[in-house]
């Protein structure tokens, strides 16, 4: 039997893992300490928080947001950030998937002792994801899911009086988004997606404290800390391009383990030519949310759903924009829904 490998950091403990990020063999304690120190290092170096801020932590019940909530509570105490932390969950209305993941969030709330608030698609938009999927068909669900979730978090956090939203995006997510936006030629998003702290004018600022944490290390950390999370993927398959980007990233990582960090570095350093026109940010005519078009993406998608033409909002946004802004005569069905929606903007507290 071979002798146990010793930890390359402390030299005393028995190595329990090979760190995906650096390739070093570490004992459990050294890995946990390094992982926590690195997230703290990121938070401090990027000046993500100011003392006294209220931070809404987007909690989906998955591994990333579970580790994020755990770490923020721990580091806030250990290093005295002086933050008021809240958990904010979005109920998309996906039978089975969401019920189970919300259960995981509730268990964590108990463990962390942080207040939890839930906002739901049905209350905000009048549509649950399951109902949307029945209308839209098997494709493009994540277009709705993503657009609605982003706004739902913002609206929920604003209602709670939060100063900032912290999301669980990790290095793999950022690398994947860089790849995807590059393949789609979306230079505006390409530049934004690599940022660690974004959207300070108008909208609530968002930050990604786990931006440099590898997905594999987040799983390892959750495992060593005995964190309880919900690990089933969303039942609605991601759009084709994201799927391709995800597969490519896994293949890249197999060839060169630093590929994730290398892509994030590339994304941070990309320079868009000065003469390339970037979309100017304004606000949505209908709901007031930040948007580069007269109507925000959520309002366009919602209008498509309410008119019984769900696919109108996908793909060519210009067509729908034109239809909607030219004839701002609300139809009966829409009026009903928008009233229902405005009535419903409130959070459910636990």
């Amino acid at each position: 039997m071979p002798a146990p490998v010793l930890c390359q950091s402390c030299g005393a403990g028995r190595a329990a893992l090979r760190r995906p990020k650096t390739g070093q063999a570490l004992c459990r304690e050294c890995f946990v300490a390094a992982f926590e120190a690195e997230v703290h290092g990121t938070i401090v170096a990027a000046r993500l928080f100011q003392p006294g801020e209220t931070v809404a932590v987007g909690a989906s019940g998955g591994k990333d947001s579970t580790v994020l909530a755990h770490l923020l509570r721990l580091l806030n105490q250990r290093h005295g950030y002086g933050l008021r932390l809240l958990l904010l969950s979005v109920d998309e209305g996906i039978a089975g998937y969401r019920d189970d993941s919300l259960d995981a969030v509730r268990r964590n709330r108990g463990r962390l002792g942080l207040p939890l608030h839930v906002v739901s698609y049905r209350e905000l938009y009048g549509w649950s994801m399951d109902r949307i999927a029945r209308h839209v068909g098997p494709k493009n669900n994540c277009t709705f899911c993503g657009v609605f979730r982003r706004q739902a978090l913002d609206r929920g956090a604003a209602l709670l009086g939060a100063d900032k939203i912290a999301t669980g995006h990790n290095a793999d997510d950022v690398a994947e988004t860089v790849l995807m936006n590059f393949l789609r030629g979306d230079v505006g998003r390409l530049r934004r997606c690599a940022g660690i702290l974004t959207g300070s004018e108008g909208a609530l600022p968002r930050c990604k404290p786990l931006k440099h944490a590898y997905e594999k290390e987040i799983v390892l950390y959750a495992y060593f800390q005995g964190l309880d999370y919900f690990s089933t993927e969303c039942v609605y398959a991601p759009n084709a391009y994201r799927g391709h980007a995800r597969t490519l990233l896994k293949d890249l990582e197999a060839i060169r383990p630093s590929a994730v960090a290398d892509l994030v570095h590339s994304g941070e350093r990309l320079a868009v030519r000065e003469d390339v026109r970037m979309p100017t940010q304004g606000t949505c005519q209908r709901c007031g949310y930040l948007s580069s078009q007269p109507l925000c993406k959520a309002c366009v998608l919602l209008e498509g759903l309410n008119r019984g033409l769900p696919r109108l909002g996908i793909g060519k946004p210009s067509r729908m924009q034109k239809v909607l802004t030219d004839a701002e005569k609300p139809e009966v069905g829409f009026r009903e829904d928008s009233q229902q929606a405005s009535r419903a903007i409130r959070t459910v507290d636990f």
Binding site: E36, E38, T42, I255, H265, S266
Partner: protein
């Protein structure tokens, strides 16, 4: 215009024109007369003559639009034997034989770098390829250079230095230069022949003979290059991954091309990257951490060397268009093996991206053109502009791009450095954190980086950009690197140290990091 919406477009293998759905068009869409021989995009059928016009025009139009080649200037055509650079050489031939108003006015030379030494080719095989090449090159009538990759072992350290722009003459505008050249040519012609009318090939031949670089054409591989083959093999043997080997080969090849250009007086180098190649390179380099350099690595013109400008005049042609052109007009191509010719798809990042884009292109026919257009929207990073600013920015020892390794707060590089450093010293235990007692602000724990165990690459890394660091980290030892890299690295480290000595008394803290520009 680089859409290759019908078929793959990425393999470069020419397939015959297929009839579009709904029947084959009967006439060429341009002249409305000739029989169509190919369809570039759905619905666009060209006859042979119109396709040639379209192809040749595109080349001249791109050079004309950018107005960067002065009349009479010496331009080196980097020729690999592959379809794109073969088509490029043909375009220059076509351009030089045009009627006066439209013709190209520069003086071309061709360079072929024999990489057989790293691709597992024996001397006999290399000799065969070489005689095949000589036949093709001699037929062009242009002066040419055949060099072995082994010659990098004799390069001077100065090849790793950018030469400032001020060396070239900016006082003359492009228009003035063109007018001056035409007058001069007319004068010369009158003196020689007593009037215009002499055939162009005759004049060209004269230009070639007067060319001082002509005698280099006669050079054959001497005993020097053959003795270096073992060193070359040793060098590539020290590189642990195919990804890094691909990068190193490209770096050395670029140095050699630059060297030939400088020593033979060429001020422009033309590379034969097609649109498809540019898309593959953009995505590959993005994955290799070269995000800051994508514009220079793939753009129409790249001025990182200062005195010699690198141009990519084939970047608007798809691989498919090129394959058609070469077939229809009998452009010869030679197959020369590459590093990864027989390697599987996942052997290197380069291979992976190539097959990924190829597959994606068959599902989404606009993939290559979308990626290409993404690249068009990118520019040089701010502060990377070498035309203004009093001090030259510090450049990567290997790729000569402005260093992208200044540590920005909250960046990926900073986090990677922190991870490397944390795992090399005893960990902070949870209880003994530095700011437990004085939690006044969130910035209290920031400690300057501490040097840990020293791997052999450490002395070279500070001189390299992020991506070249990755390449060098994949080497088991650096000693087999060619001498010019070692000597230039040593020179830079000495000048760095001297500079640091000079400014020492003004520095408040000891910081190894280069100043952020």
């Amino acid at each position: 215009m680089c859409e290759s919406e019908e078929g793959g477009g990425c393999g470069g293998g020419g397939r015959p024109a297929r009839a579009p759905r709904g029947g084959r068009p009967l006439k060429c869409m341009k002249c409305k007369e000739g029989p169509p021989v190919l369809i570039i995009r759905v619905g666009d059928a060209f006859c042979k003559a119109c396709f040639k016009d379209y192809f040749v025009h595109k080349f001249r139009a791109l050079l004309g639009k950018n107005r960067c080649i002065f009349p009479g200037e010496k331009v080196l055509l980097a020729f690999s034997g592959g379809p794109a650079s073969s088509a490029m050489v043909r375009q220059v031939q076509e351009g030089l034989s045009r009627e006066a108003a439209k013709k190209l006015r520069f003086k071309p030379g061709i360079l072929f770098v024999d990489e057989g030494g790293v691709c597992g080719q024996g001397l006999e095989k290399r000799g065969e390829v070489r005689s095949q090449l000589e036949r093709i090159l001699r037929a062009t009538g242009f002066p040419y250079h055949l060099v072995n990759l082994e010659e990098v072992f004799g390069l001077p350290g100065s090849i790793l230095r950018a030469v400032s722009h001020s060396a070239t003459d900016h006082s003359q505008s492009y228009k003035e230069a063109v007018d001056g050249f035409i007058q001069q040519q007319e004068l010369l012609q009158c003196e020689r022949t007593g009037g215009p009318g002499e055939s162009l090939p005759g004049r060209l031949a004269e230009l070639s003979i007067q060319d001082p670089s002509e005698k280099e054409t006669a050079e054959v591989p001497g005993p020097l290059s053959i003795s270096h083959t073992a060193e070359l093999t040793r060098l590539f043997g020290a590189v642990k991954t195919l990804t890094a080997r691909e990068e190193l080969l490209q770096t050395l090849r670029n140095h050699l091309i630059l060297h030939v250009a400088r020593t033979s007086g060429y001020t422009k180098v033309m590379m034969g990257d097609s649109c498809t190649r540019v898309a593959v390179k953009l995505l590959t380099n993005l994955c290799l951490g070269r995000g800051a350099f994508l514009a220079g690595d793939t753009g129409f013109s790249d001025g990182r060397h200062g005195d010699v400008l690198v141009l990519r005049p084939m970047r608007e042609y798809s691989a498919k268009e090129i394959a058609f052109y070469n077939r229809l007009f009998g452009v010869p191509a030679i197959f020369t093996p590459a590093l990864a010719t027989k390697a599987p798809d996942r052997a290197s990042i380069h291979r992976l991206i190539e097959s990924f884009l190829c597959k994606l292109q068959s599902d989404f026919p606009s993939t290559v053109s979308t990626v290409y257009r993404t690249g068009e929207k990118l520019g040089a990073a701010p502060g990377d502009d070498d035309s203004d600013g009093a001090t030259e920015p510090e450049r990567c020892l290997l790729c000569l791009c402005t260093l992208d390794t200044n540590v920005v707060d909250g960046s990926s590089l900073q986090s990677t450095l922190l991870s490397e450093e944390l795992c090399q010293k005893p960990p902070l235990s949870a209880g003994s954190s530095c700011c437990e007692d004085a939690p006044t602000q969130t910035g209290c724990c920031k400690a300057p980086p501490v040097a840990g165990a020293i791997p052999p690459q450490v002395w070279l890394l500070p001189l390299l950009c992020y991506s070249c660091r990755l390449t060098i980290k994949d080497m088991s030892c650096l000693e087999p690197l060619p001498p010019y890299i070692h000597s230039e690295a040593e020179r830079r480290r000495r000048s760095r140290a001297a500079m640091k000595q000079e400014i020492q008394e003004f520095l408040l803290e000891d910081d190894e990091a280069p100043p952020a520009s």
